[in-house]
Amino acid sequence: MITPIELMLFVFVLISAVATALFRDVLASIVVFAAYSLGLAVVYTFYRAPDVGLTEAAIGAGITTVLLLLTIAKTSRPAHEKIFEPINWPAVAVCGGFALIVSSTLFAFPSVGDPNTAAMTNPDVTVYYLENAYEETGVENTVTAVLAAYRGFDTFGEAVVVFAAGVASMIVLGREVFA
C-alpha cells in the first residue's frame, strides 16, 4: 500500500510535471522542471536508490537546468501575456489513449515493493549480485560493483556517450564555442 510519504512525493511530482507542460513562460517551465527533477531525486532516494537520487539531483536538476538556462540566455525568451499554454485537445486525446492502453499492461505487474518478483528473485542476476559482489569485487556497495565490474562495459559506453556529446556539440556549433 502507498505510504503518506510516497503519496506526498508523487503528488508533488505530478503537479510539477503538469505545470512544466502548461507554463507558457519558458523560464518558469525550466524552473518548475528543476523542481520536478529534485522531487524525483527524492523519490529515488526513498526507493532505496541513493546513488541514483544523488545523480539525478546533480545532473537532472543541476546540469540540465544550467544547460537549459544557458540556451535561453543565448537565444531568446519570448514575452507572454497569458500564464498558461492553451490546451491542445487532439494531443490530449492521443496521449490519453496512449496512457490508458499502457496502463492496462500494469494489471500484469507485481505490486510496488513486492520482494518476490521475477526481477528480485532471479538467482542469476539480482540474487547473484547481492550475494557475490563483495567477494568478487571487494566493494560493499553492490551498485558500484555492478557499475564498475560486472557491467563495466556499459560504464565505458556511458563515458563514450559523454565524449560523443562533446564531439557532437563541436561538430554542430563549430569549435569556437569551446575555444
Binding site: 487532439p90 494531443a91 492521443v94 496521449c95 489513449g97 496512449f98 492502453i101 499502457v102 492496462s104 499492461t105
Partner: protein, 602 residues
C-alpha cells in the same frame, strides 16, 4: 575409334551447351576479330552438333537459388530449337564477320545466344526465367551497342522486356506456390505446363510480350530495324522463337485463345507489313505474323483430336522460320550494307547488280510464302491442315474462322513479299551499282538457303525431329494434290491482290508512313481500310493501348507533373509528406498505443 568417339561424346552430352557459347563470347573480347568470329561459328555449330548427341531426358540437375533445377532438359522440342539455333547462329556469326560487325557486338550477340540456349535447355521454370531475363539484358546490350537511334529504341525495348520478364517471373512464383516445385514435369512423367489461374494469365502476358501479341508487339518493329544489320539477324530469330518454345512449355496442350490469337496475329502482322517501306521494319511485322502461325499450331492442339500433329506443326514452323527469317534479314542486310538505303522506294533494279543477294532473298521469300519445295510450305501446311479440322466458328466453305485467318495472313504475306522484292530488285532500273555480298555474307546465306531447301524437299528428316512423330507422320502427305492446289490458289490470290492493290497500297502506305510518328492517325485510316478486313474494333483497342502506353510513359518520365495534375503538391514544393516534430510525435504516440493494443487484446 568408337572409344575415342565416346570420349568426345561424353562431355558433349553432359556439359550444358550454353557454356561453350559464353566462353566464346569472352574469348571474342581478347582475340583478333577474324579468329574470334571463327571461334564464334565453331561454338555455335557445336550447339547444333550437341543437340544430336544429348539423349532425351534431364541432365545437369543441380540446386540453384536453393531449389531443384535442371539445366539440360532434352526433349524433341528443345532438340529441334537447339538445332535451329546451331545452324543459324553459325550462319549469323559468319555473316557478322562478313559485314564488318565490331567484335564487341558479336561478343554481345554470343552472350545473347548463350542465354537463348539456356532457355531452350532449361528443364524448370526457375532456370528458364533466369536465362530469360539474361536474354533481355544481353539483347538490349546488342541493340544499344550500335548507338544513335538504336539507343532510344533499345530503351523502349528494355522496358517492354523488363515488364514482360517481371510478369513471367510473377507467373513462375505463383506456379511454384501451387505446385511446390519449379520442374516442368513436377511429379509427373510428362511436363504439365504452368499452373492454371493467375500463373497461366501472368505467363500468357509475360511470354506474350516476347511473342509480339497484338498490342504487346510495339517494341518489335520499333527495335529490329535500327541496330547493325548483323545484329538484326541475331535479334530477328531468337527472342520471338524462344518465346514460342516457352509458350509451348507453359501450354503444352494448347488453348483456344492461343489458336485464335495466333490467327489474328497472322493477319495483323501481314497487313501492317504490307504498309512498310523500310525493309527491316517490313520483315519485323512478318515476325509477328509468322509467330501467329506458330501459336495457332500450338493452340490448335486443344481444339482437335489430332493434338500431336497441331503441336508439331507449330514447332516445325518455328524451326523453319528461324532458318528463312534470318536468311531474309541477311539478304536485306546485304542490300542495306551495300547501298546504305533503308527506303525501298529509293531502290530498284538491283537483281542485275546484286544477283546473289537476290537469289538469297528469293529463297527466303519463297520459303516464308510457303511455295512448294521450300520449308515454309511444309510447316505452314501442317498448321493450316490442323486448322482445317477445327469446327468452332465455321465461315465460308465450311472452314473455320481460324483457317480463314491463316489463309488471309498467307495471302497478305505473299503480297508483301512480292512488294518487297519488286521494289528492291525490279521497279525500274538501277541508277546505282553497288557490289554484291561479301564472302562471309555469301557463305552465311548459302548455309541458310541450303537448309531452307533441304527441309523443304527432304521433309522426312524434319518430321523425325518433331514431337509425337509416331502419331502423325504416317498420315502426313505434304505434297498431296490437295495441298498443291491449295497452295496454287493461295499464290494466285496473292499475285492478283498485289496487282490490284498496288496503287491503293502505295497511297495507304503514304499516309501511314511511320508507325511511330503517326500511330494514332494510322489507326484512323486503318478504320477506313475495310478492304483489308481490319475492323474498327482492333483500331479502338490499339488506340486505347497506345494512349495507355503514352500516359504511362508520361507518368514515368514526369511523375511529379502527374501528381500535380491530380492535385498533390505544387511546383515549388513537390509532394513529400514532410511533417514536423509535433505531427511526427503525434503519429508515434498513436502507433505505440496501437501496437500494444493489438498485442494485448489481439
Amino acid at each position: 575409334m568408337t572409344a575415342t568417339l565416346a570420349a568426345i561424346a561424353e562431355p558433349l552430352a553432359t556439359i550444358p551447351p550454353f557454356t561453350w557459347v559464353a566462353l566464346a563470347a569472352l574469348l571474342m573480347l581478347i582475340v583478333p576479330r577474324s579468329l574470334g568470329h571463327a571461334i564464334a561459328a565453331l561454338a555455335t555449330a557445336l550447339v547444333g552438333v550437341q543437340a544430336f548427341i544429348i539423349p532425351t531426358g534431364s541432365y545437369a540437375e543441380t540446386t540453384f537459388l536453393g531449389f531443384e533445377t535442371v539445366f539440360m532438359y532434352s526433349d524433341p522440342a528443345s532438340r529441334l530449337f537447339a538445332i535451329g539455333v546451331g545452324i543459324i547462329a553459325t550462319a549469323a556469326a559468319l555473316y557478322s564477320w562478313g559485314s564488318n560487325a565490331p567484335k564487341v557486338q558479336t561478343a554481345f550477340a554470343l552472350s545473347y545466344i548463350s542465354s537463348t540456349v539456356g532457355v531452350i535447355y532449361a528443364g524448370d521454370w526457375l532456370s528458364m526465367i533466369f536465362f530469360w531475363e539474361l536474354m533481355a539484358v544481353t539483347s538490349t546490350a546488342l541493340v544499344w551497342h550500335y548507338g544513335g537511334d538504336a539507343v532510344r529504341a533499345g530503351y523502349r525495348y528494355a522496358i517492354a522486356h523488363g515488364i514482360g520478364g517481371t510478369l513471367l517471373l510473377g507467373a513462375v512464383v505463383v506456379h511454384f506456390a501451387s505446385v511446390d516445385s519449379f520442374l516442368y514435369a513436377a511429379g509427373a512423367s510428362d511436363p504439365t505446363g504452368i499452373a492454371p489461374g493467375a500463373a497461366a494469365l501472368l505467363a500468357a502476358l509475360g511470354i506474350g510480350v516476347n511473342c509480339g501479341f497484338i498490342v504487346l508487339h510495339t517494341w518489335l518493329p520499333d527495335t529490329y530495324p535500327r541496330p547493325h544489320i548483323a545484329a538484326s539477324v541475331f535479334l530477328s530469330v531468337f527472342t520471338t522463337k524462344t518465346a514460342v518454345l516457352v509458350m509451348y512449355r507453359a501450354f503444352p496442350d494448347g488453348a483456344m485463345w492461343l489458336a485464335y490469337l495466333g490467327g489474328a496475329m497472322a493477319v495483323y502482322g501481314a497487313f501492317f507489313a504490307l504498309l512498310q517501306y523500310d525493309p527491316r521494319r517490313l520483315l519485323s511485322y512478318h515476325i509477328q505474323a509468322q509467330v501467329g502461325y506458330m501459336l495457332a499450331g500450338i493452340g490448335t492442339a486443344a481444339l482437335i483430336s489430332d493434338a500431336g500433329f497441331a503441336t508439331a506443326g507449330g514447332l516445325a514452323h518455328a524451326f523453319n522460320n528461324i532458318l528463312y527469317k534470318s536468311l531474309l534479314f541477311m539478304a536485306v542486310g546485304v542490300v542495306i550494307y551495300r547501298t546504305g538505303e533503308e527506303d525501298i522506294r529509293n531502290l530498284g533494279g538491283l537483281w542485275k547488280v546484286m544477283p546473289l543477294a537476290f537469289v538469297a532473298y528469293l529463297v527466303g521469300a519463297l520459303s516464308i510464302t510457303a511455295v512448294p519445295g521450300f520449308n515454309g510450305f511444309i510447316s505452314k501446311g501442317m498448321v493450316i491442315d490442323a486448322a482445317h479440322e477445327v469446327k468452332l466458328f465455321p465461315l465460308l466453305l465450311g472452314e473455320d474462322l481460324l483457317w480463314w485467318l491463316l489463309i488471309l495472313g498467307g495471302v497478305g504475306t505473299f503480297m508483301s513479299f512480292i512488294k518487297l522484292g519488286y521494289y528492291m530488285f525490279f521497279h525500274g532500273s538501277s541508277d546505282i551499282s553497288p557490289k554484291d555480298a561479301t564472302r562471309g555474307q555469301i557463305v552465311a546465306m548459302t548455309l541458310a538457303s541450303g537448309f531452307c531447301l533441304y527441309y523443304g524437299v527432304a521433309y522426312g528428316s524434319l518430321f523425325e525431329l518433331l514431337p509425337h512423330a509416331a502419331e502423325w507422320v504416317p498420315d502426313a502427305k505434304p505434297y498431296s494434290t490437295g495441298h498443291l492446289t491449295e497452295s496454287a490458289i493461295l499464290l494466285t490470290a496473292g499475285f492478283v491482290g498485289f496487282a490490284v492493290f498496288k496503287r491503293p497500297l502505295g497511297w495507304l502506305a503514304h499516309v501511314m508512313r511511320d508507325v511511330d510518328v503517326v500511330t494514332v492517325p494510322a489507326v484512323f485510316y486503318t478504320g477506313r481500310a475495310f478492304v483489308w478486313g481490319v475492323t474498327e474494333g482492333w483500331a479502338a483497342v490499339d488506340r486505347a493501348v497506345m494512349s495507355t502506353i503514352a500516359s504511362l510513359k508520361r507518368l514515368g518520365s514526369n511523375p511529379e507533373g502527374t501528381a500535380r495534375r491530380l492535385g498533390f503538391g505544387t511546383d515549388e514544393e513537390p509532394i513529400q509528406l514532410r511533417s514536423g516534430i509535433a505531427r511526427s510525435m503525434f503519429v508515434l504516440t498513436a502507433m505505440v498505443a496501437g501496437a500494444i493494443a493489438i498485442l494485448l487484446f489481439g
